[in-house]
């Protein structure tokens, strides 16, 4: 029971990272695709304005997931980290380059610096979710055996399921970001930007859907256990995700941007939970189950109690953060 609760809490963290941190990555992807310095100025300005105050808080969800995994399921953490250390090192370097470059770009005044740091921010926004998705693919297809570096350090992440995971992660992040940015542009009174992001959202949504459909064949061939789970126990969640994804397209066409946000978030969350449900109770497919990997009850309860108390402080704080910046910018009296 405690182990399942800890797993669920970790999965909530992972969902939040995908929905908030993932959208920040996606915003970086759109930054990359915004065109030259002059043409992309307005879009880049909106992106920076939207993610500036919140990206560091959104990034902390990743630390939350990593720490919960190592405290509550130490052996799984050790196995995943030691076997998949190449894509994880690359993702870590991407995280460094992205966060630092975003802050540096904001602090720079000259165009060439903004270009250099902007390119660094945007490129690492593209590669980081790819590597994280590849890691997920490696775990989900059962390529991480228990023990230290027992899996193949190369084929554990260079394989069809990992490639699918990586591409899907990038497309999903881009889609989420485009949907979120529609609402931001609309609120800031920039209908032309909102229309542009709506187009991007539809395109990336269709692309993600197409890749997901093609992925069915990949999983059938490459990750049979996951395929079986997704088509049986997790099927309702897969259908929910597809329906929500289609609803996003309709809502965007009707300019219902805020509801579209919720639907896009639901589509992404449902697919993450579908993965969890398909794999459960295995944490390492073909090896370790949740109850085998779980820390002793004393540790699990200490961590859950601390996180519970933490949530009492965190939830109002997050609420304050998002409500402070989800209002239209007031007239600035000093300027």
């Amino acid at each position: 029971m405690l182990a399942n609760t800890a797993l669920a809490v970790m999965w909530v963290g992972l969902t939040c990272y995908a929905l908030f941190g993932g959208a920040d990555f996606g915003a970086g992807v759109w930054d990359l695709l915004s065109g030259g310095a002059e043409r992309g100025r307005a879009r880049r300005g909106l992106i920076e304005h939207s993610i500036g105050p919140v990206w560091e808080a959104n990034h902390v969800w990743l630390i939350f997931v990593v720490v919960t995994l190592w405290s509550a399921f130490s052996t799984v953490f050790a196995a995943v980290m030691s076997t998949l250390y190449i894509p994880l090192t690359l993702a870590a370097l991407g995280i460094i380059a992205r966060g630092a470059a975003f802050a540096f770009r904001k602090a720079s005044t000259e165009l060439w610096q903004q270009r250099l740091f902007g390119a660094c921010f945007a490129l690492s926004s593209l590669v980081t979710p790819f590597f994280l998705g590849a890691v997920a693919g490696g775990v989900a297809s059962g390529r991480v055996p228990p023990g230290l570096a027992e899996g193949d350090v190369v084929t554990s992440w260079l394989n069809p399921t990992s490639a699918l995971g990586g591409v899907l992660a990038v497309l999903t992040c881009a889609h989420l970001a485009a949907v979120y940015l529609c609402a931001d542009a609309d609120r800031e009174g920039r209908p032309e930007l909102a229309r542009g992001f709506a187009r991007n959202a539809v395109l990336s949504g269709l692309a993600a859907g197409a890749v997901a459909c093609a992925g069915v064949a990949v999983l059938h061939a490459d990750a049979p256990e996951l395929f079986h789970g997704l088509t049986h126990r997790a099927l309702p969640l897969v259908i929910l995700s597809a329906v929500a994804g289609l609803a996003v397209l309709g809502l965007l066409a009707k300019h219902r941007f805020v509801v579209a946000r919720a639907a896009a978030a639901l589509a992404v969350a449902a697919i993450l939970w579908a993965w969890g449900a398909a794999q459960y109770p295995a944490m390492l497919v073909g090896g370790t189950t949740v109850s085998e990997a779980a820390a002793t009850p004393a540790v699990l309860s200490a961590i859950l109690v601390s996180l519970g108390f933490g949530a009492v402080v965190l939830i109002p704080s997050l609420w304050l953060l998002y409500t402070t910046f989800q209002r239209a910018t007031p007239e600035q009296p000093h300027r």
Binding site: V60, T89, L93, A97, I303
Partner: protein, 465 residues
């Protein structure tokens, strides 16, 4: 599945090459040494910024308000760099030391989980503090900064608790290679936690204060002796000077803690080879196989420091198997360097006190002469050197153990091949990040220069983000 992973851990020591082990140690050491400086600024700089902002609101002084805005701007950049370099460390715990995490991850998970919460609070309020500067009334804005300082200090406390556990592992039992009877609270609040955390938190305030003061000492030396630059120097330098005497007392406590709990580390720090009483305090010197030569000896010094009596017995390296000695010369020199810098900073604080006293008697401005300002300009980098030396003492003094007396570094490392390549990649990325950080911070000060005598409108025009 724990049982299945234990043979894997046993195997790790045989599978890993000496080069990969050194690469893993170098990568962890390097990324920690880098992060620790930024993390200290992350703990100390918000406090300085709030102090300046509060002063500015209270007195209406535009100079202080401008200082607060400028420090906040630097804080934003440094916090971003600190957040990502800290994330890398949590990855590296698993990428480089899965043997440690696989077996003991659950034992030290609690302080990291708490640190995660504290860091979350810090990131949330930093976002509000920086971005809502012109959206909130001044006093309410000041309040949104307070959680940053509290959470920053708390996260330093939790993360150092985890490191303290590696020095004083508690809260578990090893039975046939399996970790059982875990008590995460006992593990977190082990005997090393208090001396180590207090020492580190004070160090963070000293590093941030003296480094910030150094910048303004250079400006004062260049003749910019206006209110703005004087305040930029006096606020942080006073805070640093106020903390230093306490730090020296806490340092003494931390060293005497070692006499009771980690005698091998104390023996390496002080270069004590033979157990006995009337042990002298040796300053400097070169370590050989049988003793420390060419050092300056203070008769009975160490025995007096440890137990307040020359008869106090100090355990020497002769009580430690030869294969388990830390690198004596390196640890000894790092310790001496840290202590000398500590006393140098104490002397600078006393000089400041004397300057205040003279001003009270004679009136006018604080009498800072060139020599004082030159030494003050050095104090910031010196504090960083002291910080790094102190960290070397803690970490190298624990070798060859990753968990003192329980697990060796060799048993913890990732047996996967190719760690050397990872080291080079990380070095390149960190070098680029270092250059960019220094460059951006320097450009930031020149891109939006401050006026000699700031007025209210200059303040409101200065961008925070």
């Amino acid at each position: 599945m724990l049982s299945a992973s234990v043979p894997g851990i046993a195997l790790a020591a045989n599978r890993v090459s000496a080069g990969d082990l050194s690469a893993a140690r170098a990568q962890m050491g390097f990324s920690l040494a880098w992060h620790i400086v930024i993390a200290c600024l992350g703990v100390g700089l918000p406090a300085l910024t709030l102090l300046a902002e509060w002063w500015g609101i209270r007195t209406g002084s535009p100079s202080h308000q401008l200082l607060a805005r400028r420090w906040a701007r630097a804080m934003g950049v440094l916090f971003a760099v600190g957040a990502v370099s800290g994330t890398i460390l949590s990855f590296e715990m698993g990428l480089l030391w899965p043997g440690l995490m696989g077996r003991f991850g659950q034992v030290i998970g609690l302080p990291f989980a708490l640190e995660g919460i504290a860091f979350f609070i810090e990131a949330i309020f930093l976002g509000i503090y920086l971005y809502a500067w012109d959206r909130l009334p001044p006093r309410r804005h000041l309040l949104t900064g307070i959680p940053i300082v509290i959470a920053g200090t708390a996260s330093a406390f939790f993360v150092v608790c985890a490191n303290a556990w590696m020095n004083q592992p508690r809260g578990f039992t090893l039975r046939d290679g399996k970790v059982v009877d875990v008590d995460p609270w006992a593990a977190m609040l082990n005997p090393a936690s208090w001396p180590q955390t207090v020492h580190m938190i004070l160090a963070a305030f000293m590093v941030a204060s003296f480094l910030t003061a150094s910048v303004y000492a250079v400006a004062l030396l260049r003749g910019r002796r206006d209110t703005y630059h004087r305040a930029g120097f006096v606020i942080p330098f006073t805070l640093g000077a106020a903390v230093t005497p306490f730090q020296i007392l806490v340092g003494d406590w931390a060293a005497r803690f070692l006499a009771d709990y980690q005698p091998a580390k104390l023996a390496a720090i002080e270069g004590v080879y033979t157990t006995g009483s009337h042990v002298p305090l040796t300053i400097g010197g070169i370590a050989g196989d049988d003793g420390l030569k060419y050092g300056l000896e203070v008769p009975n010094g160490l025995s007096l420091l440890v137990g307040y009596s020359p008869d106090t017995v100090v355990k020497g390296l002769d009580r430690v198997p030869r294969g388990q000695w830390p690198a004596v010369t390196g640890v000894h020199w790092a310790f001496d360097l840290m202590v000398s810098i500590g006393f140098f900073l104490l002397a600078m604080g006393l000089w400041l006190l004397w300057a205040w006293w003279r001003r009270r008697r004679m009136g006018g401005e604080l009498p800072f002469n060139r020599l004082f300002l030159m030494l003050a300009a050095v104090s910031g980098p010196a504090a960083v050197v002291a910080l790094e030396s102190g960290w070397c003492v803690t970490e190298l003094g624990r070798q060859p153990w990753i968990v003192w007396g329980v697990m060796s570094v060799r048993d913890a490392v990732n047996p996967a091949p190719g760690l050397m390549a990872g080291l080079w990649l990380v070095l390149v990325v960190y070098a680029a990040m270092t250059v960019a950080t220094v460059y951006v911070l320097r450009r930031m000060t020149r891109g939006t220069p401050v006026p000699q005598a700031p007025q209210e409108e200059d303040v409101s025009r200065y961008p925070v983000v």
